[in-house]
């Protein structure tokens, strides 16, 4: 294995670029746009992600000299490292609220079943409305983050139709997931029919950045609920880490395959 530090000065270019992006994004701060009774909430992490995409060498060709493939790989490794202080901060909000969390324990566990909501909403749209084939199995069976991607890769291979579906939703989720999870929950909250604790628990269904965006949006909309929003969202996300893969493997994927066989009995390839 080559020493990543062989990228030398370029690695510092990466960290300095990130620092500059972070300073700009943080200086702009949270922007709240009232739309009627609802609020659209724009978070600094969204500007940081958008700015970074703009200077990404695949978008702005001129930066390819600084962000070489090796530096980009380092940047990928930095995501997991840079997120750990945030995860630690999140954990320290869960501990003090442990009693309140245990009090809503059944709801916290049962809302993991909400992952089936993806299938209920997206399967009919993919199969009946958009006429998609077996790629819809990989696309809709889960929220398609890393563990779910690995599961499809192992069962079907990523160059199968199912693999194309999971990769498509994975890539789209990576590109726009943070935006969706920052903007949608406050809008649902504005409907005024759901308990803030339920909105918070559901923040844990996806990746770390979806969690951050979702809690950030909700807290900006309901500052008074800050402590319980963070604690419940954090607890739910940990639960998703623990149970998500098993739920996908034993419930969600077989259920999606069963639905697909019903919908397209002629497509015998899905006999699994």
């Amino acid at each position: 294995m080559q020493q990543p530090s062989a990228a030398g000065g370029r690695a510092w270019g990466l960290h300095l670029a990130v620092l500059a992006i972070v300073v700009i994004a943080q200086a702009i701060g949270i922007i709240i746009l009232p739309i009627g009774a609802a609020k659209v909430i724009l978070l600094p992490m969204l500007y940081a992600f958008a700015l970074a995409i703009v200077v990404n060498p695949n978008i702005l060709r001129g930066t390819a000299r600084i962000f070489t493939p090796r530096v980009q790989k380092l940047s990928g490794a930095m995501i997991t490292i840079a997120i750990t202080p945030f995860v630690a901060k999140f954990g320290t909000t869960v501990g003090p609220e442990i009693k309140e969390i245990l009090a809503v324990g059944p709801a916290l566990v049962l809302q993991e079943l909400g992952h089936l909501g993806s299938i209920l909403l997206a399967f009919p749209i993919a199969v009946y409305l958009l006429g998609m084939g077996r790629e819809s199995i990989g696309a809709v069976y889960s929220i398609d983050r890393e563990p779910n991607l690995a599961l499809i890769a192992e069962k079907f291979g990523l160059n199968s139709p199912e693999g194309a579906g999971v990769m498509g939703v994975y890539a789209t989720g990576t590109l726009i997931g943070t935006f969706i999870f920052a903007i949608v929950p406050p809008l649902i909250n504005a409907m005024g029919i759901f308990d803030p604790r339920a909105l918070a628990m559901a923040c844990g269904v996806g990746s770390g950045s979806m969690l951050a965006a979702c809690t950030g949006g909700l807290i900006s909309a309901m500052p008074g609920h800050k402590d319980d929003i963070m604690a419940l969202a954090g607890a739910s996300n940990i639960l998703t880490y623990a149970t998500g893969l098993y739920f996908s493997l034993f419930v969600a994927l077989p259920f999606t395959q069963w639905l697909y066989r019903r919908a397209r009995p002629d497509d015998i390839q899905t006999a699994g």
Binding site: A17, V18, A48, Q72, T84, V94, Q111, V169, G173, S209
Partner: protein, 168 residues
């Protein structure tokens, strides 16, 4: 089932995001320190918390991160580093644990959203041509489906949580 297991032969599992475990221990520590300093500055610029005020809490987060990264490397259980980090952070703040009150007090002074910003910046810079190509090749249909997947999962969880929150 046969044709499925045959398909695993052409398995190409190159995860788009590189995880920990690729870099050496000291190097990972150095990278964590870089990210930590950027985090400290992010908190300062974002919400005006002076680094001196944020420092005790930030040191707690740093120690949790180091412990989590070490445990993920050396404990032969497949829990990712972030799982260990949250576990440790929860344990040291449960009421009754020695020092928990002090830890909670100093950690409260650090804004959480500001700590997510650096990771998203690295994320945006890490996106490869492959990821853009997949999103483009999959076309508008997959974008529609992806939005439905995210909405369906979130709203599904909200509805079940809302119905069952009175239980227990």
């Amino acid at each position: 089932m046969e044709n499925l297991s045959a398909k695993t032969d052409d398995l190409i599992l190159e995860m788009p995001e590189a995880g920990e475990g690729e870099t050496g221990l000291i190097e990972t520590g150095g990278l964590l320190l870089v990210a930590w300093v950027i985090g400290l500055i992010s908190v300062w610029v974002g919400v005006g918390t002076s680094p001196l005020v944020a420092l005790p809490g930030m040191i707690v987060f740093f120690l949790c991160s180091v412990a989590g990264l070490l445990l993920a490397r050396f404990v032969p259980v497949s829990i990712p580093a972030v799982g260990w980090v949250s576990l440790i952070a929860i344990l040291i703040t449960v009421p009754g644990v020695p020092g928990a009150d002090w830890v909670v007090e100093v950690c409260k002074k650090v804004d959480f959203l500001s700590l997510a910003t650096p990771a998203l910046a690295y994320g945006g810079l890490a996106l490869t041509g492959t990821e853009f190509a997949i999103a483009r090749r999959s076309g508008w249909k997959i974008v529609v489906v992806a939005i439905c997947v995210m909405l369906g999962t979130y709203v599904g969880s909200v509805i079940i949580a809302n119905l069952t929150i009175g239980l227990g």
